[in-house]
Symmetry: C2
Subunit: 460 residues, 2 copies
């Protein structure tokens, strides 16, 4: 039976694209990811293509400063605008597209984040989303008065309580709390404003928030957990889940695993959208697409490529780049593992070809082809319940968003698997999610993630 | 001798204006301060009038929830968009005007704030400013896992170290660190990127920032300290100081006090702009201006007025509003103090008239009159070195900004005391401030506020 409904599409933005050599392309906008204009162009192209949302990744430190031979300085990724400022700036410039920013729960205060995302929800008329992450690197810890990152369990527990507080603050004001009665002089009904009085292990937050209930009720929450705990929390509380599955069977298993956990939380399966990453290289012919891909691969600096490779197989920088590796590397390749060695042998790869595999990989599935071929893959995944749609991790911005919108989106629309017009003005409605009922409106309200995490921990 | 140069003007925005009854005016935009459009209209009007900057105040909690009789619910001030999101959203919609947001050093991390303001500086092309404040109320503490606010010295010491870290992070990348050499593959020169490695009493921050040196070098820092410590820090490090002097002699004394401290830090006096608040009610005739003022005063809700008054003279809500106070209040007025009692007697005020004085006061000088009369006052203050310009605390937004821009600004321009065109594209240049030299550029760099505070403490 053919799957009904439409797939959902997000555009993920990082620097000038997810490809490490994107900045070296002749058409790359200047200034790297400090150029707001290039994000604006990409967001406009995504909105023209009726995408559900744009999404901004983030990290809180410069990376790789101690890498040998200056590989970090050969990448544009160490310079990034802070994502909440970027989605705020995009809000009045766009009309229908969702605006999702990454923010970490590890070094933030829930009151600040709840308020910022609520503010963006007002400024955008109901299009704000928060990609909730924890910060795992020591480099990040060192920018926040710590010497090492906290362990996984601590970060996750703090993150769960953080979500609970944010959700609670977003419920502070009832939908109809603001009267604004100029005659009587009553601006709001104080009985419809609720203190949270949260007292937990990590936070004590009284509330209420200084922003009223937002156009979406609560902004969208995006998560990316692959772990058991992450899947449980997503099933109970997330609106959108990003994954990096690059293979359909693995994607189907993840999809079934997360969706299968939703019933026990009283959530219908379509209350959560699972969007694997997808990096498309589209051409009018397969050859054009392949050339696009190969051109970018050739631009990977050997130092950057060997640096990425060294984390897998050790330092091979003394070897020639363009001779078959099986002939020259021999025993030194053993640490690469059987899977990598099988590929090297089967395809008779050179060192350059091998680092191109590693340096450009972001975990997403890469699809190279015509619009029809790319749509085939997307439709196959969608109809097999491997995905509710895709998070497009474009190799180059804004160029690859523009060509995807011009070539692939019309093909998806022709097949009836993607919208031709926005259904609504809020991200929540366009994603087809249920409305966000307040905990004070009589229903069950949103689940306590802290309790879910505790129960999952006790069960495992 | 007539003072040369031009005055500087900022528009301060809070809710729908600084007057507590602004939301009850028939022309008030809906939704209070959650309506981004009304800030956009006001910012456009300010930019048309060639203002240097718009400025957003802030606080981090709902106030007055335990006030008797629901006065808080009769004000629009408990609902406010978070200011950094607002200035980010205004950035691409405006071209020349500076964008200043308040952010507290008490419950924030310097890495986050340094990055957000640096990002806004990029998005706006060099127009970002940070109004640095500390948070003093218990209500705010309770939203950030504390039960009571820290004492003044602690907050000030933390705030001083916070500024030092932020300034340090803004210097992370040299002006010419980004090479972006597509041929060689070098994106930046790693020798021109500096770790801060700050280790202080309140913060340990490694750096570098993940944003390059900004168009302004460093965003503008605004302060508002009236205390001895505040004056010393401002003299040493602030770009702009806001004050609330409502009387010219007091303003002159403050001006001389702060400016007189600058020489010992090697700063010329015009490297810091002192802008007292000014609330103008302008009309084509004095009567029209007076009517504007009186209409708004009449809209003050008695509960709001009596609430404001009760903090000065106790609860008088059982008394009739419109009979002379000297006749009905008698001994109960004693706690108001001699100054208030003198006014009550001299002007034979009723209770309503008295609360109108208190409820509408924000500490700024209120000037009611024609464009010429208001310009007279402004010019007098400017030429007497009581002010380098003014922070316009408009009673109603956007209406009072529009009428000020249409009536008063052309008069100031005619007199040659205010610009007719922007001089430059950055806030720093429009304010006539010296360029922000990096600490790594060979010069002295920016002062350590922590050291200044310690020296001031030792001296006093």
């Amino acid at each position: 039976m053919k799957r009904s409904g439409k797939m959902k599409l997000g555009l993920s933005m990082r620097s000038l694209g997810y490809h490490v050599a994107a900045w070296r392309h002749p058409d790359a906008p200047p200034l790297g990811a400090l150029n707001f204009e290039s994000f604006y162009w990409a967001a406009q192209a995504a909105e023209r293509a009726k995408f559900d949302m744009v999404f901004f990744a983030d990290s809180l430190s410069v990376r790789g400063r101690d890498e040998p031979k200056g590989a970090a300085a050969r990448s544009s990724w160490n310079l990034e605008l802070e994502p909440i400022t970027v989605i705020s700036a995009l809000a009045p410039l766009t009309k229908n597209i969702g605006l999702v920013a990454t923010a970490s729960t590890t070094y933030n205060e829930p009151f600040h984040l709840a308020r910022k995302f609520a503010s963006v929800d007002f400024i955008s008329g109901g299009r704000a989303g928060w990609n909730m992450v924890t910060s795992w690197s020591d480099d990040e810890a060192k920018n926040f008065s710590q010497t090492h990152t906290k362990d996984y369990d601590f970060r996750y527990e703090r993150g769960a309580e953080f979500i609970d507080v944010v959700n609670g603050l977003w419920d502070s004001w009832d939908d109809d709390a603001i009267e604004r009665n100029q005659q009587s002089g009553v601006f709001y009904d104080a009985t419809k404003v609720h203190s949270l009085n949260h007292v937990g292990k990590h936070f004590k937050v009284a509330g209420p928030l200084t922003v009223a209930r937002t156009p979406q009720g609560r902004p969208i929450i995006v998560q990316a957990g692959e772990s058991e705990q992450g899947r449980e929390i997503a099933a109970a509380s997330a609106d959108v889940v990003y994954t990096a599955s690059d293979e359909i069977q693995r994607a189907k298993a993840f999809y079934a695993s997360v969706k299968g956990r939703m019933e026990k939380y009283g959530r219908p399966m379509d209350a959560l959208k699972i969007l694997p990453g997808l990096t498309p290289f589209v051409g009018r012919t397969l050859q054009e697409a392949q050339d696009k891909h190969d051109q970018l691969q050739e631009l990977i600096d050997p130092l950057v490529g060997l640096g990425a490779l060294s984390r897998k197989v050790g330092d091979l920088s003394d070897l020639p780049l363009d001779e078959p590796l099986t002939r020259i590397a021999g025993a030194r390749m053993k640490s690469a593992g059987d899977k990598v060695m099988a590929i090297v042998k089967e395809e008779n790869l050179t060192l350059r070809q091998l680092y191109q595999r590693f340096a450009s990989a972001n975990g997403s599935r890469v699809v190279i082809g015509t619009a029809s071929q790319i749509a085939d893959t997307m439709q196959e995944w969608y109809e097999a319940y491997a995905a509710d749609g895709f998070n497009i991790t474009a190799a180059r911005l804004p160029a690859d968003m523009e060509s995807f919108g011009e070539l692939v989106v019309p093909e998806l629309q022709r097949r009836g698997v993607f919208r031709t017009e926005y259904e609504a003005s809020t991200l929540r409605e366009n994603l087809g999610l249920p409305s966000a009922e307040s905990r004070y409106a009589g229903g069950e309200g949103v689940r306590s993630v802290t309790e879910i995490l505790a129960a999952a921990g006790a069960a495992s």
